[in-house]
């Protein structure tokens, strides 16, 4: 395994490393038929840490974060989320999903529900909140992502950027400890990327543990504690952004950076 050890850790993260990590993956494999999507993944994410996962398409980055909340089932290896092992047991899967929020490339808002209903459904049905409580909570997070005025609209009436911000608010309404972002800006028109990234930055500043699959290298440089570079199902390189962008270790990372930074 060509796993480079963690290069640098920011001071704020260091003391927390001794705690139970937010995510721990040990020798995780995922296959689709003959294709190996994840090939012996070892990854540790400390609480409060912000990770950007990047790499060429098909490198397994989405699969990696989709395994963390069991949207995708890993075939071999161990995954622990906040100390809970993802062992296919219903109650553990449920516990992990309650701890993690996910934002998808294609938003996946419920199109037949208003923005407000999108945000209140899970708190009301999965957490047993009253409608009034759930609506307060939803309005709080919709205010945070700066679209409280769109609460009564349907997703189809919003721009892509607005929809993605609603999706972030919807996930936050379950008060997750870890946020997973699966290419959150890839489906957006260029002028809408910024508003979503700003929202994510704000979340990062508040200390949320984040794993983001993204090609937004500006965001990575500014927000990430660590970059995880993947290729062909493997973690090829992990480093602090400075280090990664200036002195990528692997040939593959160098080519990748050359291709995406014009």
């Amino acid at each position: 395994m060509s796993q480079t050890p963690m290069m640098t850790e920011r001071a704020t993260v260091q003391p927390q490393l001794r705690e139970v990590p937010a995510v721990r993956m040990e020798a995780v494999y995922k296959h689709y038929g003959d294709f190996t999507a994840l090939n012996e993944i070892d990854l540790k994410v400390a609480k409060g840490e912000k990770i950007v996962v990047c790499g060429p398409s098909g490198s397994g980055k989405s699969t990696l974060i989709r395994c963390i909340n069991h949207i995708e089932k890993h075939d071999e290896g161990l995954i622990y989320v906040n100390g809970v092992e993802l062992d296919y047991q219903r109650k553990n899967i449920d516990a992990v999903r309650r701890d993690t929020g996910m934002v998808f490339q294609s938003f996946n808002l419920f199109p037949h529900m208003t923005v407000l209903e999108n945000c209140t459904l899970a708190p009301m049905t999965a957490n047993g909140m009253s409608e009034a409580e759930a609506e307060d909570l939803a309005m709080h997070f919709l205010t945070k992502v700066r679209i409280p005025d769109q609460a009564e609209k349907y997703p189809g009436q919003l721009s892509g950027g607005q929809q993605q911000r609603v999706a972030i608010a919807r996930a936050l309404c379950m008060r997750p400890k870890i946020m997973l972002f699966d290419e959150p800006t890839s489906a957006l028109d260029p002028e809408m990327v910024k508003e979503v990234l700003e929202t994510m930055k704000k979340l990062a500043e508040e200390g949320m543990t984040m794993l983001c699959v993204t090609h937004e290298m500006g965001f990575a440089r500014e927000v990430a504690d660590r970059i995880v570079f993947m290729n062909e199902g493997k973690v090829v390189e992990q480093a602090a952004p400075e280090e990664f962008f200036k002195h990528p270790k692997s040939e593959r990372a160098r080519t990748f950076l050359d291709q995406i930074i014009h």
Partner: protein, 243 residues
């Protein structure tokens, strides 16, 4: 000039005997739709199941009932089954036949509706830790149902007319009663003109209902001016305090 008496046709239209036949037609249709939807939903769920035996059984059912004429199914249930000692009343025979047949069509409509709901919707529901029931009831079903309405409408329209086949096993619905009136008075065109008018009215009413349903369930693209006021201005402190 003509051999067609409009007055007679109008009289048949308002004939009490015929009107009662219309009620039977409506009753058969409604019962077959309700029964067919329940059974069809079950068959669709089996058909989508990952268990090959259950999926295979559902497939076999659909293959059989869609592959044979309703008329044969009705006649077999009515005249054939008694040979094996299984006997139902006429109306039960008609209902059983119609429901079994309709369920096969509706199962495929239900299935196609569910398959058209994107996988991302289910994934989002999982990620939010919604229970399987809530995911079905609140996320997939409403979206699938919206997609099902147009084909469902077609199928119900066909069913409404297919109830006329029950006349063959002597159920006194609209068609059968028209036949009886015709045999009594021999005003063929007049009687069937009245019956035709009833079928057209029934299918037109259903068309209108279907349009309303489509509009209702397609509302997600239309603004709904619901109360925002209830979501009172939340101070950050109050929301944080609760957490």
């Amino acid at each position: 000039m003509s051999h067609f008496s409009l007055t007679a046709a109008v009289n048949y239209f308002f004939n009490y005997f015929l009107m009662k036949g219309v009620l039977v037609t409506i009753g058969l249709t409604v019962a077959a739709v309700v029964g067919g939807l329940i059974l069809g939903m079950g068959i669709a769920l089996l058909r989508m199941s990952s268990n090959p035996v259950l999926a295979g059984a559902a497939r076999l059912y659909i293959w059989f009932f869609r592959g044979t004429p309703l008329l044969i199914q009705l006649v077999v249930i009515y005249s054939g089954l008694p040979q094996l000692g299984i006997k139902f009343s006429v109306i039960t025979c008609a209902l059983v036949g119609l429901i079994l047949n309709e369920a096969a069509y509706l199962a495929e409509i239900v299935r196609s509706g569910f398959m058209a709901v994107s996988a991302g919707q289910r994934e989002a529901a999982w990620a939010l830790s919604l229970s399987p029931w809530v995911t079905f009831r609140r996320v997939t079903l409403p979206q699938a149902f919206r997609l099902m309405i147009p084909p469902l409408g077609n199928s119900i329209n066909s069913l409404l007319k297919a109830t006329s086949l029950a006349s063959v096993i002597s159920v006194e619905e609209l068609m059968r009663r028209s036949d009886m009136l015709m045999q009594e008075h021999f005003q063929i065109l007049e009687v069937y003109a009245a019956a035709t008018a009833y079928y057209l009215i029934l299918t037109s009413v259903w068309d209108a209902v279907q349009r309303r349903l489509e509009k209702h369930f397609g509302r997600s693209s239309v603004a709904k001016s619901r109360k925002v006021a209830t979501a009172a201005p939340v101070t950050r402190a109050s929301a944080e305090a609760r957490a």
